[in-house]
């Protein structure tokens, strides 16, 4: 029987500052083997003597040899991690959970609504679509951030802006003086979109408070519920369906989620 709780020791092979609070860590497993994850899945990262915490994989499985974790400095573990450098070792368990079933998305338009750090997990899907561009229809990305200084993956944002095959829209709650883009909450960008509703798969990822508003707005737009997917955050401790910390009603987020098909959330009163 496999031990559920032993990590493999992986190496940090790159660190990049994404924003004042976020860093992107490139991780390489022993022997450079692939993580073999689906977009939307997560790993448990552990630092001995500090603990273990769940992080969504931020890179697409199409990019081989290493994977990336975009990590905001919000707690004890992330604080230590943020002081670590390339060459240092971390423990990895996973990948865990259910990610996006990309086959369901093939041939469809894909619309992403990402708020704040929600861009991190969904970037895996975005890059997957970009790497298999012909398998999908339109790629529409709505991205909302507190301020323009908090925008993540700025060089990729620029690429999306420049790519004629990506419809990228960004807004910030409050912009600094040199911000020339949209200001306002993310939902303000939805009414103006011209969408082929039946043929669009919509993915929402963001802070808990964002979901309700985005759902309302999609609803009044006429987006069918079965075309909506979302990724939820909970306290995933064991990642293997045992510790109980991640439960939403009867659902274990670490097993059934973090990615949920919206119609499946109807029975889960604690979800949103």
């Amino acid at each position: 029987m496999k031990d559920l709780y032993f990590p493999v020791m992986a190496e940090i092979t790159g660190v990049k500052q994404l924003s004042p609070m976020e860093k992107l860590f490139e991780i390489t497993l022993p022997g450079g083997v692939d993580l073999e994850h689906d977009p939307g899945q997560f790993v448990e990262l552990s630092l001995f003597g500090v603990g273990e915490a769940p992080f969504s994989v931020s890179s697409s499985p199409t990019r081989k040899g290493t994977f990336e974790l975009g990590i905001r400095n919000v707690g004890m573990l992330t604080d230590v991690l943020h002081r670590m450098e390339a060459g240092e070792k971390v423990g990895i368990r996973g990948p865990f959970g259910s990610g996006f079933n990309v086959d369901d998305f093939k041939g469809k338009d894909v619309m992403i609504v990402a708020g704040g750090i929600g861009l991190v997990p969904v970037r895996s899907l975005i890059n997957y679509v970009l790497d298999n561009r012909d398998d999908f229809g339109r790629l529409i990305i709505l991205y909302g951030s507190k301020t323009d200084k908090d925008l993540l993956f700025t060089d990729e944002l620029q690429q999306w802006t420049d790519d004629p095959k990506v419809e990228y829209h960004v807004t910030v709650d409050s912009g600094s003086d040199d911000w020339t883009g949209n200001t306002g909450v993310i939902t303000t960008m939805i009414p103006g979109l011209d969408l082929d509703l039946e043929n669009t798969k919509c993915v929402i990822v963001g802070p808990p408070i964002m979901y309700r508003f985005v759902l309302l707005s999609l609803n009044s737009k006429g987006m069918p519920e079965e075309n909506i997917y979302m990724s939820l955050e909970r306290r995933m401790k064991c990642g293997v369906g045992k510790c109980g910390h991640c439960q939403i009603n009867s659902s274990y987020v670490c097993q059934d989620g973090p990615v949920y098909h919206y119609p499946d959330l109807a029975d889960l009163q604690e979800a949103l």
């Binding site: 029987m1 496999k2 031990d3 559920l4 709780y5 032993f6 990590p7 020791m9 552990s46 001995f48 003597g49 500090v50 603990g51 273990e52 915490a53 905001r72 919000v74 707690g75 004890m76 573990l77 992330t78 070792k89 423990g91 808990p208 955050e233 909970r234 306290r235 401790k237 064991c238 293997v240 369906g241 045992k242 510790c243 109980g244 910390h245 439960q247 939403i248 009603n249 009867s250 097993q255 009163q269 604690e270």
Partner: protein
């Protein structure tokens, strides 16, 4: 199967007979008014007539604190702990506690089977004993009776002046072999009645809980409940845990430890950054009770509460899971029967 008579005066030699075969764990007195399972060293101190133990035998298969791995900070490496089968005889187990073990077996083997639990669980033999329901037991309401020998290797049915002993498995038979007893040919007296019941109509459990989400009972109990987590910690079917790293003062070595955790506490659902997903005590109580009667039950067809009464007996506010469920049943019946 043949039953044998174990008279009261032979109990100690019987325990000694068991001790010759494997380690024996049995209820002992703990503190002034409580009982706890402990390894038997002096058979005379075993208490076969007891209400309930503080913890169930769960503690041997999933210890309250348990090392998951040990690590060295000097070279950032870790070592596996040794996990050995408990391989012992559990004497004097009440029927509800064995049923609880079977429920945990399910939880730790479905999905991702867990080595630690399943390994420890190997070789455990159970010798049951009749219990006399006190004011908190209600296992009869979930189909578990004081004389229920289901799953036991050996059962000691309480009879006048001692026990009628019956083996139910080959392992049980070999536990008894070599111990002189006369045959017992009378009937086993009916076990005593329960003093409280939950009145869930047959097969309706799930339906009751479908309609219980917004019941006022959650808000009402949350006025008296202080979220101490005791009800979780004593429950034989609770198995949630937390994991923490501890570092030695020398700051060179340490261990990753898991310990039982309680969903009634606020920080159980707190994520880094401070968001608490079950902030209200009412929501936490509801989660606990749904865990016992709906979430797992919908998948397995069984209640996940075994009616041991520990949660209520140990609660300093005496919040009664029986009263909560009965209120839900009552409101459900009223809602479904009453004319619109």
């Amino acid at each position: 199967m043949t039953r044998f008579l174990l008279t009261e005066d032979k109990v100690i030699t019987f325990i000694e007979h068991l001790q010759k075969q494997k380690n024996v764990f049995a209820p002992h007195k703990r503190g002034t008014n409580s009982f706890a399972f402990e390894q038997v060293s002096d058979p005379a101190s075993v208490m076969l007539d007891y209400t309930r133990t503080l913890h169930s035998v769960k503690k041997y298969f999933m210890p309250p604190r348990e090392q998951l791995l040990s690590f060295s900070l000097t070279d950032n490496s870790f070592a596996e702990p040794t996990v050995d089968p408990v391989d012992a005889i559990f004497l004097g187990v009440h029927s509800y506690d064995l049923q609880a073990v079977f429920k945990l077996d399910h939880n730790f083997s479905e999905g991702n089977p867990e080595k630690n639990y399943l390994k420890r669980r190997e070789g455990a033999l159970f010798v049951g004993v009749t219990f006399a329901p006190d004011q908190w037991h209600f296992s009869g309401s979930v189909g578990i009776n004081p004389n229920d020998a289901d799953g036991f290797d050996v059962f000691l049915f309480a009879v006048e002046n001692g026990y009628a002993v019956e083996a139910f498995t080959p392992a049980g038979e070999s536990l008894l072999s070599g111990f002189e007893m006369s045959e017992f040919n009378s009937d086993i007296p009916a076990a005593a009645d329960f003093n409280q019941h939950i009145y869930v109509p047959q097969g309706k459990l799930s339906e009751v809980f479908d309609n219980a989400w917004d019941n006022e009972v959650w808000e009402e109990t949350s006025k008296e409940c202080v979220g101490c987590g005791t009800c979780n910690m004593v429950c034989p079917t609770c198995y949630c845990f937390n994991v923490e790293d501890g570092v030695d003062v020398t700051a060179t070595v340490g261990q990753r430890e898991r310990h039982w955790d309680a969903c009634m506490t606020r920080d159980f659902s707190e994520v880094a950054g401070g968001e608490v997903f079950r902030e209200e005590l009412a929501a936490r109580q509801r989660h606990r009770v749904y865990r016992k009667f709906k979430y797992i039950s919908d998948k397995t067809g069984q209640p996940w509460c075994v009616g041991c009464g520990r949660c209520t007996a140990s609660c300093s506010a005496k919040i009664s899971i029986v009263n909560i469920v009965n209120k839900l049943v009552q409101d459900h019946e009223q809602a479904t029967v009453a004319p619109v």
